[in-house]
Amino acid sequence: MFSIINIIATILIAGGAFFMVTGVLGLLRFPDFYTRLHATGKCDTLGEVLVIVGCMVYQGWSFITIKLFFLMFFIFLANPVGTHAIMKAAYLTGLKPWKKGEERR
């Protein structure tokens, strides 16, 4: 049970879970749409990549590892693009960024 592979995988999965929780914390606590995108866009991508790499380490060398790599690689590309698309749509339709001192939006 406590082989070195399991320990490394557990550490990676714990790190990924930590970043996912902080991403949701930012999503709930930040005052404005753009700042929330800061938190979720970055933390979710990193959290997801760490968890999938942890699963790959645990899985060893097999066909599933290649599928997990494709999943991780696709998310690593797709999440920032999706965040950018939704941010551009919000900015072009006139959603003003939050300034310090304004109330939460």
């Binding site: 557990t10 991508t45 939704i86």
Partner: protein, 89 residues
């Protein structure tokens, strides 16, 4: 090692419930779309974790497909919100 994935799954499910608040009550439609994008990313990881808990290797394919669908949904939603229509044909 299975209880590590179980703990991960429960934690991810808790974060999904938390971000559901922003998805339902988000002040504007853009907050809701961003929250749905976040939930989609978390569901992918939840699928992989559940796949390991129940020892189903097929769940990785399902989460790959779900990742693609979530990405396309975010793009189409942002295009609709930006231009008011999707295919102008």
């Amino acid at each position: 090692m299975i209880d590590v994935f179980l703990a991960l799954g429960l934690l991810i499910a808790a974060t999904i419930l938390l971000s559901l608040y922003r998805a339902v009550l988000g002040p504007g439609v853009f907050n809701q779309v961003a929250a749905v994008n976040v939930i989609g990313t978390k569901v992918i990881v939840l699928l992989v974790a559940v796949g390991y808990i129940f020892d189903r290797p097929m769940f990785v394919d399902i989460s790959l497909l779900y990742a693609i669908l979530n990405f396309i949904a975010t793009l189409v939603m942002s295009k609709y919100l930006e231009r008011g229509e999707i295919c102008s044909a």
